[in-house]
Symmetry: C2
Subunit: 455 residues, 2 copies
C-alpha cells in the first residue's frame, strides 16, 4: 500500500551534477562583506525619518511635543469598548482569532462603503481592500506601480510616510506647489508639461486633498475637477489619501476626488476617526488594480488581523461613530484655537502660518536665516518639539518651515509649547541678526568663520 | 506679528519654467494603456497561488478540506480571553488603541525572548522586530536583501507564502532537495558549488527546519551544524522560519539553528501557538539588519497593531501558554494519527508519504501518470480538497505531489476525506492505465487525441 518512510522524490534541483563537479569547493573564509550585510540596492533610499528620530527625545514628559501626529483618544468610551471586545471574543472568537481573507472581512468592507458615502463616494465592497493602516495600502500601491526611477507627483510638502514608501521603491518624487487653497492646478500642468518634454509620464499623483499633512490646507472644491481633468489629459493616475476628511471644524464635508472620478484610487483609515492602534485602513480601487493589490497584500501579511477588523466592524454597527467623530473634532478645534491664539500672541515678526479648518496640523514658515532643522536641538533643550520642514520634502526644501501638531496635547500645554518655541525663535533671530544665519551646526563644520558656539 | 492667510513659499518644484514653456500641452485622449494599468515590472511575477484559488471552493461545508493550513483554535479558553481583552481596554486602552513603536511593544519583545529560550535561543529584546505575522518579516527581509535576479535557496518543496514574496521581489529560487531527515547537506553543497561556478552567491538560504510546510519532515539534529557550516563557508546568510517548532508530537524540542549561530535570522509566530487572527509574528535579527528591517517595517505599516500585541503579551503573562500549546499538540497528534491510519487503509498501491512528528502536514507522492493539479477539480467534485504540489515549487516540479493538512478537520472528517481522495485516485489510475496519464485537462487542449472527457 505505501512506504511511509521512503525518501521523497527530489529531482527539483536546478543545478546539474556536471556543473557542480566543475566547481571545486572553495570556502570563503575572509569575506569583504558579511553575509548579513549584502543589502538590496533599494535600501540606500531607506533612511530614518527626521520625525522618527525625534520621537525618542520628544517623548520625555517635560517636553511639550508639537511634533507627532498621534490622535487624542481620551474621548473614547473605554467601558463600552471593553464590553464590545469581550462580546467579540465570546460570540465570534473562533473567527476573530483565525486567519481571514487577504482582502479583508466582508461585512467591514460593506461598512467602509457606508463611511465613504459621507464624502459622496459610491463604492463597491468588492473593490475595497482592507489594510494594516492606510500606510500599508500606500506602500503596496507603490510596490505594484513603481519601477526604480519612475516619477511620482506629490504636493510640496507631503506626508513623510508616503515619501518613505516612494524612496523604498526608488521612485523619483517631483513636488508640486500648494497655496492656501491646496494644490495649484497651474503648477501641476507646468510640472506635467515639463516632464512630458522629457518623455516622462508620472505613474501617479499622490495627493492629500483635505486638511493636508503637514500643510494643513484643503483643496478648494472648484479646483477638484480641474486637477482630475489635468491628470486625465496627461494619462496620470491619482491616489487620494484622506485620513482627515471627516475631521473638519466647520461642519462642511468636501467631496472626495473619488466621488468625481471612479478611476481615482482612494485611501481611507480608522486611525483618526476611531483608533490608530488597531491599524485598520483601506483602499478603494478599480477592479484590475484590486486583483494585484490583494496579491501584494497576501505576500505582505497573508491577511490583515481578523480581530481588529471585527472590532472596528462591531464599533461601527453598535456605536454612534458619527457622534464620536464630532466629539473628537470639537476637541481638535479647541486645540487648534489655542495654538492659533498662542502663535498670534507669542511668535516674532516675520513668521507666517495657515489657519487649518480641520485635521491636526499648522504649517509654519519662520523668518529668513533661521534653519528649523538646525534649531530643533535647541528647541528640545527648551522643552518644546516640532517636526522640521525638510522631512516633508524629497528634495531638501523646507528648511524655513516646520510642522506644529495641535492634536494631542491639552490647550494649556499647546499654549506653553508655543511660548517656549517663540523664545527659541527670538534667540535664533538674535543670532541671525549677528551672523546672518542661525544654522550654527552648519557653520561649525567649516574653518572659515569663527564658531558661533563660542560666542 | 503674522499673516495667517499668506500663501506658503513654494519654490520647491524641480521642473523649470523654461522647460515647461518648451513643451506644449498635448492631451492624450487615446492611451494605449489606462493610467491604472501601468503596473511595475515586478507584478509580472505576482500570480494567485494555487492554494488561494482553492480556498473559495474548498470552503463549501460539504467539502472536506485537507488543503488549508488554518490552526484548530477550538481548544482556546474563550471566556478567559474575553475577560483578558476586556481588562486590556479598561486598564490600558489608551495605549492599546494608540500608535506604537515600529519595532513592536517592548514588553512583548522581552516575552518573545522567553518563548525563544524554549528552543535554546538567547536573544536580546532589542534585536526582536514584531511584525504582522511572520509573513511580514519574511516579506520585508526579502525587500531589504533582494535585488531583481538575486538567487535564494529554499527547500524543494517550500512554503508557498515565501515563494510568493520571493517572486514579488523578482528573486530566482533554487530549490535544494530534502529527504526524510530534512534538507540534505550534500545537495546544499552541490547547489552552492554549481552557483559559485557561475559566480553566484545566493543572498540567503530560506529553511523551515521543524515540521516542514509542506513536506512535514524535520531537519535531523546532527545535520543542523553541518548546514550552518556549509552556508558560512559559502558566505550565505540563513533565514530560519519556525512557526511549528513547539508543535512536536514526541515532546522533543529541537535546537533552533539560531541557537547554534547568532548570525541566523530567526522568524517566529504566535499564529500556531496562540491565535493566527491576531497576526503577531516576529524576527530576531543581527543589529545591523534590525535597523534596516525597522525602517522597512515603518514604511510598510508605520507600526504593528498595539492592540493585538498587548493582547498577546497579557495572554503570555496571565495564562499557562505552554499547557495550551500542549493541548493544541495533542489535538493535532490525534488528527495526524487519524490521517495516517486512513492513508494506510484506503490509498491505492504506489502512493507514498512521510510520517510527520509534529506540525500540520503530510506530503504525499502519487503513482506515476497522475497529475495532482489536473486531478484537483475532480477531487473537489468528490467533496475533498488538497493542495497540489506544484504550488510549493518555483520551477514547475511537484505534479506528482500533494499536501494534506490534518490540522483543522475532526478525525472523522479526516478519515472521510482520505476515503474520498482514495476513490478519486483509483478513478485516476483507471484512466492512467488506459491513456498513460490522468492529466485530462491537458489532453483536451490539443486536437490530436480523443477527449478523455467523452469516454
Amino acid at each position: 500500500m505505501s512506504s511511509p518512510d521512503r525518501p521523497q522524490q527530489s529531482t527539483d534541483l536546478t543545478v546539474t551534477a556536471a556543473a557542480a563537479a566543475a566547481a571545486p569547493h572553495q570556502p570563503r573564509t575572509e569575506l569583504a562583506v558579511s553575509p548579513t550585510e549584502r543589502f538590496a540596492t533599494r535600501t540606500a533610499g531607506m533612511t530614518a525619518s527626521e520625525i522618527r528620530a525625534l520621537f525618542a527625545v520628544a517623548s520625555r514628559p517635560e517636553v511639550v511635543s508639537l511634533a507627532g501626529g498621534m490622535p487624542n483618544l481620551a474621548a473614547l468610551p473605554l467601558q463600552s469598548l471593553s464590553s464590545e471586545v469581550a462580546d467579540l471574543v465570546t460570540q465570534d472568537g473562533l473567527m476573530a482569532l483565525q486567519y481571514g481573507s487577504a482582502q479583508g472581512v466582508p461585512v467591514l468592507r460593506e461598512q467602509i462603503c457606508d463611511v465613504m458615502r459621507e464624502e459622496g463616494i459610491e463604492g463597491d465592497p468588492n473593490d475595497v481592500v482592507v489594510t494594516v493602516g492606510s500606510q500599508m495600502a500606500l506602500d503596496l500601491l507603490t510596490r505594484i506601480f513603481i519601477d526604480p526611477g519612475d516619477v511620482v507627483l506629490a504636493e510640496g510638502p507631503s506626508y513623510v510616510g508616503a515619501l518613505g514608501s516612494f524612496a523604498a521603491y526608488q521612485a523619483r518624487v517631483v513636488h508640486v506647489a500648494m497655496d492656501e487653497h491646496g494644490l495649484v492646478p497651474e503648477r501641476l500642468t507646468e510640472a506635467l508639461r515639463s516632464l512630458a518634454a522629457q518623455g516622462i509620464t508620472p505613474k501617479f499623483l499622490y495627493t492629500i486633498p483635505n486638511f493636508h499633512n503637514p500643510a494643513g490646507v484643503t483643496l478648494a472644491v472648484e479646483r477638484r475637477p480641474r486637477i482630475l481633468d489635468i491628470c486625465r489629459d496627461f494619462g496620470v493616475m491619482v491616489i487620494e489619501d484622506n485620513p482627515y476628511g471627516l475631521l473638519g471644524f466647520t461642519g462642511e464635508v468636501y467631496p472626495a476626488l473619488r466621488s468625481i472620478d471612479a478611476d481615482v484610487i482612494y485611501l481611507g483609515s480608522f486611525s483618526k476617526t476611531f483608533a490608530s492602534g488597531l491599524r485598520v485602513g483601506w483602499a478603494l480601487v478599480p477592479p484590475l488594480v484590486r486583483d494585484r493589490l490583494v496579491l501584494a497584500a497576501e505576500s505582505a501579511t497573508l491577511c490583515p488581523p481578523s480581530f481588529t477588523q471585527m472590532l472596528v466592524s462591531r464599533y461601527l454597527a453598535h456605536h454612534d461613530w458619527r457622534s464620536q467623530v464630532k466629539t473628537f473634532t470639537e476637541n481638535y478645534r479647541e486645540r487648534r484655537d489655542a495654538m492659533l491664539a498662542a502663535l498670534e500672541t507669542h511668535l516674532p515678526e516675520g513668521c507666517s502660518w495657515n489657519v487649518p479648518d480641520g485635521g491636526f496640523f499648522v504649517w509654519l514658515t519662520v523668518p529668513e536665516g533661521v534653519d528649523t532643522k538646525a534649531m530643533l536641538p535647541r528647541a528640545v533643550t527648551a522643552r518644546v518639539a516640532y517636526a522640521s520642514g525638510t522631512g516633508f520634502y524629497a528634495d531638501g526644501f523646507g528648511s524655513r518651515q516646520l510642522r506644529l501638531s495641535f492634536c494631542y496635547p491639552t490647550p494649556e500645554r499647546i499654549t506653553e509649547g508655543v511660548r517656549r518655541l517663540a523664545a527659541v525663535l527670538e534667540a535664533e533671530l538674535d543670532v541671525v541678526r549677528t551672523f546672518g544665519t542661525s544654522a550654527r551646526t552648519e557653520l561649525t563644520r567649516g574653518p572659515q568663520s569663527p564658531s558661533p558656539d563660542t560666542t
